[in-house]
Symmetry: C2
Subunit: 240 residues, 2 copies
């Protein structure tokens, strides 16, 4: 049986103007190759609704899977979610499941879930959410299109959430922990935990928040009890 | 008057498999922005004739200019030139002007212009050649499509050859000199020459040949006498 085929759609003026160098295409290409999915085509378009809608319809019809990156943040030029709804004839609004994820996170971190941030809970009616262990605001899968963030650490984490579901394997379980230390401080203990749990996949997604370095550590595996055990050990190693 | 529009087509299995990270898109995007040409879309496809032909026809019809990168080398999977001829209904064969450029260069460097290398002189009948000051084998312009190499140093040099011709300005003249030293050795004298000739553009394109580092230095400007003067001074600074 031939491998499944895929295309990628990179969305964003900042890429086409040369202000930002895209990193997600190269990352996805490598991950798909490891997974046995053939990336056949990439398109990059600007934050322009007709261009996005046209491209996603064409790619969705031509390939088994489509992965998009960019345009799902809180600002006015983040139009990807609305374009996806339009491309597939679905309605779109703030959805309760996405809103509750965001509300929990903002309450936990003592920040306000304002109107702009609530935009990130706008999800097409029949889409399923994609887990975002780095910054909570979810991506989504609509038809055969996986809609993900442009920020590389978030994109990479979402790819890790989605890919195992495409290969017909068992569901991958995950737990995550935010550690407010620089990656240099956590790398060695993390490597020891990874060595003790070779069946688990342990990812670290660094960020900077209010000038402080931190990392979201995500532990994934098929054995839920083992994932729980590893995340507990991580929590004891790095008490809040 | 709105800016002219452009698209880019990146050709190559090695990009889509994740083995190579494309660098040309980001470079071209920056150069087009400086030139006042709006890059509206990028596509990346594999070394697959129908995919290449289809993409270049669509992009050529939709935008003022199309820039391609990759697939014009000497190996069997370099099919870009043949695809371009097919896309625009032109015949293609080894062309005398391109063959003579290659023959001169291989004679000068004491290497053989064999069958494989002669492939790089296959040019569609009505295309015009694009100067390649780094490694001689030319690119070409067919209709509104500028067909260039995938190797970043060559791609960058070809972009510098093409862009001035698109903005309706005067023809830019160029002279080049190969210097068999590492760029670290030539940077300071080159900077002094550049400072003395602010009206000229001086580019250095490094390469490694048979284990020895060298650089092709290209001096461009509108005043031919000044370009000649600067290249003579460069030659005296770095005698062969």
């Amino acid at each position: 049986m031939p491998n499944p085929t895929a295309a990628m759609l990179v969305i964003g003026d900042e890429i086409l103007s040369g202000r930002t160098r895209d990193a997600n295409m190269h990352y996805l290409a490598g991950e798909l190759t490891k997974t046995g999915i053939d990336l056949k085509e990439v398109r990059m378009v600007s934050d322009d609704a007709p261009a996005i809608i046209d491209a996603v319809r064409q790619l969705s019809g031509a390939y088994d899977h489509v992965f998009t990156s960019g345009g799902i943040g809180p600002t006015h030029d983040d139009i990807t979610a609305d374009c996806m709804a339009k491309a597939f004839g679905q309605s779109i609004d703030v959805r309760d499941d996405a809103r509750s994820l965001l509300a929990d996170m903002y309450e936990r971190t003592g920040r306000e879930l304002n109107e702009a941030r609530l935009r990130m809970a706008r999800i097409p009616e029949h889409a399923t959410l994609i887990d975002n262990p780095v910054s909570t605001a979810p991506g989504f899968t609509i038809e055969n299109v996986h809609v993900m963030a442009g920020v590389p650490s978030v994109f990479n984490a979402m790819v890790a959430s989605v890919l195992p579901t495409l290969t017909g394997g068992k569901a991958l379980l995950s737990q995550s922990l935010t550690i407010m230390r620089g990656e240099g401080d956590i790398a060695a203990p993390l490597a020891r935990i990874a060595a003790d749990y070779p069946q688990l996949s342990i990812g670290s997604y660094p960020f900077q928040r209010d000038g402080v370095f931190g990392a979201q550590v995500v532990i994934r595996g098929f054995d839920g009890a083992m994932v729980d055990e590893a995340i507990l050990r991580l929590g004891r190693t790095f008490p809040a």
